[in-house]
Amino acid sequence: MSDALDVGSLDRTQRDALRRLVLSLADSKRLMGIRYSDWLLGSPSIETGIATSSMAQDEWGHARLLYSMLKDLDIDPVPIEHDRASEEYASVAPLDEEMPDWAALVAAICLVDGAMTTMLESFAEGSFEPARGRVPKMLAEEEFHASLGSAWFKRLAGAGGDAHRLLGEATRAMIPDLLAWVGADDGPARAMVEAGVIGDADGRVVAFRDRVRALTALVDVDVDAVVPSEDWDPARARSPGHPSEEAVERARGDRNRALFVE
């Protein structure tokens, strides 16, 4: 583990890079929670609906803790959470739209949530003290997501027919963007590696591929052969585009704006 980072010693470029990293993780967690919440009703069983409810709750808890890390950069997280336009969100691209079917959500549990866990593991082992202290609890909660996702992925992959086909399509659609995100290696990403905040891009990609290889093989996707997406928005560390307006209205809490208590 690296020595603790002295945030006060960071120059402007490094601070912006750290802000980008934290926002990328926090926004992705928030949108992941929304995508879980889309399936509170209408998932294959009452039990899976309850599971998505719990996972949505977890993701928003993680988002809350991640947004609060911005305070260490003297950034007020409240307007970040509640006042941004959809074009400013830094969540990963596969969460932009509602999952079209249960198979896509299962793919997202394993791949999108899995990519976030890969990043968080690296973040927790880095030099940023708030991440060291708060992320291990998130990772412990993520173990349950991974367990449920893996079980469902195997079940759908083994079912053949439409279940196998839809799962494969979702897997193929998600991985390129996720590889680009996990493997970000532009200037800000390198600045964070040099500051010891997060591990190097190659290591993160290896960890992600190791995490999902056996599962994606079940739907005939060789994750080692997938090429990362080349479209990249360096301001937000994600592929171009943005989450749907409806999702961002929920993320911001527009309906409850008069009731904010923060």
Partner: protein, 142 residues
């Protein structure tokens, strides 16, 4: 030991029960009378007071549930290091308010400072033997 059972009285205007404005746990906790003189060991006394603050969902105390990571005392300020069972625990605000309400009922405590901590992460391993015994009597295994 004498106990104070908080009132559960409806407001005249038909709104929330009056106790909700002063005690967010809904009056379930049973608190002893405030001490009549400052204790010799404020830290130990604070731990004792926290034993009267129950988790809002499970009827064992916050120390028994393993949520209190530390208590410090400095110039009239009781500083409580608190964690939660989950990052999105829906009872966070209730727990914070219950701690503050209970401690501020003591005249020798000028202020309460709650520090949220996540390291080490809470697991059920942190439940004390006393807490486990109580849960077992309630038919809950932990």
């Amino acid at each position: 030991m004498s106990v104070t059972v908080l009132p559960i009285a409806p407001r005249p205007d038909g709104g929330l029960a009056s106790h909700l404005s002063v005690h967010k746990s809904g009056g379930r906790d049973r608190w002893s009378e405030p001490l009549t003189a400052p204790p010799e060991d404020p830290v130990q006394a604070t731990w004792g007071l926290l034993q009267e603050v129950l988790d809002p969902e499970i009827p064992i105390s916050l120390p028994e549930l393993g949520l209190i990571y530390g208590v410090e005392w400095e110039g009239g300020v009781a500083r409580v290091r608190l964690t939660f069972t989950a990052t999105a625990c829906p009872c966070m605000e209730f727990i914070r308010e219950d701690i503050t309400d209970r401690l501020e009922a003591e005249s020798w405590i000028d202020a309460v400072e709650i520090i949220e901590v996540w390291d080490p992460p809470w697991t059920s391993e942190r439940i004390t033997p006393e807490g486990r015994a109580k849960l077992r009597r309630l038919g809950v295994s932990a």
